[in-house]
């Protein structure tokens, strides 16, 4: 029971200021305020504090980038999304890829910044970082203990029914960090690696950490450019019925270099694949 001569609590005053009191209580507060200088002063102080906070907040809000770029990006992504029907497992893969593309701009910038910060922090760091790399760091093949490969339950129709070849795949920065950490690469050189799917999503590969490894572009002739070319070739073969999807997944996971040699009928990478670039390098 409220006594009309008792002062109002700050809670009541705030609720009254914010118009959150029930009608009956609002009337009581109003009546009390009319007769109480103390509560009126307290209420005015509270309103002044709110006003000061709002001013301070508005004046220190960081300037946001212009909306034009983000709006255009959103429109493009909405159109892409509209073309999809997120019902099957394969579509969820595509949505995942779309989300990664949404992340692309900031991630590239963020990773670049991380590298710069990392370089600044290390100061006299060795330029090639060789001392920090495991024996798999410059290898053409993943460590099967860390990256055995992982797939989604998709069918050939799922894989071939959707055009994903042109999709730019960007691995989230936290996943990339985990992959580099698993391979004991402490300061990865920008644009030297592709944090790649062992089994590409275009063949039903999943986003599991067990399906990623840092594939070098340099230091080996069996590099990320060559594997990208194989991935496209295998998908084409699967879709043309020349090879079973499961077989393509198994072969690329077991030994992608042997698979390349087998299907391109060569013992060395083809010259035309040396600059093949489907996926985005880690920056």
């Amino acid at each position: 029971m409220r006594h009309s001569d008792a002062h109002l609590t700050e809670q009541d005053l705030l609720l009254a200021i914010d118009g959150e009191l029930p009608l009956e209580e609002t009337q009581h507060v109003r009546t009390h305020l009319e007769g109480c200088w103390t509560c009126r002063t307290k209420m005015r102080e509270m309103e002044d504090t709110i006003a000061d906070f709002i001013r301070a907040r508005d004046e220190t809000m960081p300037p946001f980038p212009a909306a034009d770029g983000p709006r255009a990006l959103l429109k493009a992504r909405l159109r892409e999304l509209a073309r999809s029907e997120p019902s099957s497992a394969w579509e969820r893969v595509r949505l995942g890829m779309l989300r990664r593309r949404v992340a692309a701009v900031a991630l590239v910038a963020g990773l670049g910044a991380l590298f710069v910060i990392g370089s600044l922090q290390t100061g006299e760091a060795d330029h090639d970082g060789a001392a920090h790399r495991s024996h798999f760091a410059n290898a053409s093949v993943p460590d099967p203990q860390i990256t055995p490969g992982a797939v989604l339950p998709v069918t050939k129709d799922d894989v071939c029914g959707t055009d994903v070849v042109e999709a730019v795949r960007v691995v989230p920065v936290d996943v990339a960090r985990q992959v580099f950490a698993a391979y004991k690469i402490e300061r990865p050189e920008p644009r030297a690696y592709e944090v790649d799917y062992l089994i590409t999503p275009a063949l039903g590969g999943s986003d599991s950490i067990r399906n990623f490894w840092p594939q070098p572009y340099r230091n080996t002739i069996w590099n990320a450019h060559i594997k990208d070319a194989l991935e496209d070739h295998l998908r084409r073969m699967v879709c043309q019925g020349e090879i079973e999807l499961a077989k393509a997944q198994q072969e690329i996971a077991r030994d992608w270099i042997a698979t390349y040699k087998k299907y391109f009928r060569t013992d060395a990478p083809l010259a035309e694949h040396a600059t093949f670039l489907k996926d985005r390098p880690w920056e």
Binding site: L14, L74, A82, V105
Partner: protein, 185 residues
């Protein structure tokens, strides 16, 4: 060209769907123009960098498109957008394992001048700096309530955005305001 009934209905359905998607895209872009800045502002109070905030905003409006496309409720979309933005921002912050984004040194000194008198100006700057320091030290939930209230959300909406009770919102705002009032002491 002769078409059977099934394929012509399919064509009509497809073109209707395309038209619906186009109209929906227009709606979502309009809402993006309306709410991007306040949402980005709110997300920045969750201590995410602007570029991460832009990311989250994009994801929110893509999710909004999906939400509307699947025929779900259009009631209080602003609350929906902030709720999804809040959750995605926290998720992103956790994924990045980013420590608190500290306000850069001198940021509090950059409060813009609004008073002509140098003494008043200095006093006002100092007060604003103290207020912002208090806000920055508030627990996450209190800070979120305060910023959402500043965005014009009612208590019930704040409760929905943050997934807490109405009473918690009132207590949280009361607590924050008390700390702000005592910032000068």
């Amino acid at each position: 060209m002769v078409t059977d009934g099934a394929s012509s209905s399919f064509a009509v359905a497809a073109s209707t769907k395309a038209a619906q998607d186009a109209a929906l895209e227009k709606d979502v872009v309009l809402l993006f123009d309306l709410w991007r800045a306040p949402l980005l502002g709110y997300i920045s109070t969750l201590r995410l960098a602007i570029e991460d905030g832009e990311e989250v905003v994009q994801e929110v409006f893509l999710a909004l498109f999906q939400h509307l496309r699947s025929g779900r409720s259009r009631e209080n979309l602003r609350g929906w957008v902030f709720r999804v933005g809040h959750n995605l921002a926290l998720k992103r912050r956790a994924a990045l394992q980013r420590p608190f984004l500290q306000q850069p040194d001198g940021a509090l000194d950059e409060v813009r001048d609004a008073a002509p008198n140098p003494e008043q100006m200095l006093a006002m700057k100092q007060r604003q700096a103290r207020l912002l320091a208090v806000v920055s030290a508030l627990p996450d939930q209190d800070r979120c309530c305060l910023h959402l209230r500043a965005e014009g959300f009612r208590y019930r909406e704040i409760a929905e955005v943050l997934g807490i009770s109405l009473g918690s919102v009132a207590l949280s705002l009361g607590r924050s305001l008390e700390r702000l009032r005592h910032a000068d002491r």
